[in-house]
Amino acid sequence: MTLHDATTNPLLVATNVVKDYPSVKVLKGVNLSVAEGDSFAVIGPNGAGKTTLFKVLTGEVFADRGTVRFEGDDVTRMPEWKRVRLGFGRSFQVARVFKELTTQENVVIAIEAHERNTGRRPARRLACRPSPDVREAVEQTLLEVGLIDKRDEPARLLSHGDKKRLELAMSLALQPRILMLDEPTAGMSPADRRAATELIAAIRARHRMTIVLTEHDMEVVFGLASRVAVLHQGAVIATGTPAEVRDDAMVREIYLGSELIHA
């Protein structure tokens, strides 16, 4: 299970990240290091700062102090779209797709964005229609996430689970080095949750990408994560394999003690 050995390089490193909002200190010096190939879960009770940490890592907001490095480069103050071009992919807690466009158009936009991000010129620049390569890639992506039958449906009519899939498809279209999933199974039924977990695991295996996720559901965490960081009151109190974290005395006391034992 563990992919974390001496030969892998840290891909994403946060050092002493501090983020305050006007009335509250949310992150009080967070340190974490995600290695290439990790499936890294950030867990913690509500209000621990998971979402804010996520935003700081993806570039939605900037850290007040501390640094975020990606492959050794300082990206602390880099806007999100530039980080995406370096290889970040991201999904949102509540799936965000382009609601008034069809499923297919959503993916077309993502794939064409990827084409631009990687500096490739489209085959036929003047044509309105997406190029054959793009259409081929759209087909592939829709097949992979199982939305090929719903390609012409407006995204707003998709079910909650399908919206999540579509969002995943859009993130995949970018072929990210690191995929950031903010509560990928939030609000799903247990069956959908299992299916989503399997889909993410399959995608991870096939594309060999690094994954960072926040999650509430322990089943999902233990099903997907190779490493876990526990965030408590704005600081990381433990990092390790799921088993190590489970056995950590402090974690048991503060957090898992109340949730996992009952789970």
Partner: protein, 336 residues
């Protein structure tokens, strides 16, 4: 399939455009000079509205200063044609457009930096007031009296020269140019760039997480729309042969907004329908002092309150409802 869908859109829109063009081209043969003049002006207003909707309907930018670019194009053309009469008129039209885009770029770099929504609207409104006031103060541009004596140029095309001042030549030239501009806008909206614009209009943050430089694309949308409008303004100058600062006034900036919302935001043809309906209303009520505004205002109000999707939006909703009825009535047969 998307390919089929976009193919049929293309064919349908081309057919509609062809019908409109046939009507416009035949107008001088069947109606009075007054109507032809209105139709020519209407063609410019259509471009004015379409380009505004590129920003609003496609990219989600509400500009309240679109008229200032119409005026900038018009005045730039008139001034350049006066001081350098030797330059080819097509170059002048293109130059006026580029100048409009350039102004939009400079304004946009500042205005789009972080302020969006109502701030962009108010900033563009401030810009339009500045342009309006400057136009009415600068002596070389004719101050409040306006820029007079703008001539319709002679158009040399290499193999032949057309005198745009004679007969209906300038009208036909304008129709051709407006068609070109409208086709250009259609192409932008339906192509790769249009897809990026649409994604920004729907969820700018999501678009940014696809690696799209949102600000750069908003800037592009603003510059393209402003440049197109500047060319329409430049075409307007020799058409009327007179420019007054009124065309930079904010009440004129409200026009494309009215056209778009009246006709419908979602459809390419929305601003066209809006402009035509507006022109008809204006023409029909032109002799009624005060009543003209009351009627136009009331109709606008009714459309906004009763059909928030504009006339075309209301139409498509109606069609959907009728379709649903057919499906419902058809269902028993399928079951059997």
């Amino acid at each position: 399939m998307m390919s089929q869908a976009s193919n049929s859109t293309w064919k349908r829109d081309a057919a509609i455009a062809a019908i409109i063009l046939v009507v416009l081209v035949s107008l001088p043969f069947v109606t009075s000079k007054g109507i032809v003049f209105i139709a020519g002006t209407l063609a410019l207003h259509v471009v004015f509205g379409l380009s505004w909707n590129l920003m609003f309907g496609q990219t989600g930018l509400v500009s309240f200063g679109h008229a200032s670019f119409f005026a900038i194009g018009g005045y730039a053309f008139a001034w350049a044609a006066k001081i350098a009469p030797g330059i080819h008129p097509l170059l002048l039209f293109a130059g006026a457009g580029l100048f409009g885009s350039l102004v939009a770029l400079i304004v946009g770099i500042l205005a789009l930096r972080r302020s969006i929504g109502v701030y962009f609207a108010i900033l563009t409104l401030a810009l339009s007031q500045i342009v309006y006031l400057l136009l009415s103060y600068i002596p070389a541009l004719g101050r409040e009296d306006g820029f007079t004596g703008i001539r319709r140029p002679r158009l040399s095309l290499g193999f032949t020269t057309i005198d745009l001042a004679s007969g209906n030549n300038y009208y036909y030239f304008m129709i051709a140019m407006c068609t070109l501009l409208a086709v250009g806008l259609w192409w932008v909206m339906h192509g790769r760039m249009g897809r990026v614009f649409k994604s920004i209009q729907q969820d700018a943050e999501r678009a940014a997480f696809l690696g799209i430089d949102v600000q750069a694309y908003r800037l592009r949308s603003f510059a393209i729309a402003s440049g197109t409008t500047a060319i329409a303004g430049a075409l307007y100058a020799p058409w009327l042969q007179l420019l007054t600062p009124e065309i930079a006034h904010w009440t004129f900036s409200a026009r494309p907004i009215l056209y778009t919302l009246l006709g419908g935001v979602q459809s390419f043809w929305g601003p066209v329908v809006g402009a035509v309906v507006f022109a008809v209303l204006e023409y029909g009520t032109r002799t009624l002092h005060g009543l003209s505004e009351i009627i136009i205002g009331s109709i606008l109000l009714v459309v906004v309150l009763a059909f928030p999707g504009g006339l075309l939006g209301g139409l498509s909703r109606l069609r959907k409802r009728m379709n649903r009825k057919t499906i419902v009535t058809a269902r028993p047969e399928i079951v059997r």
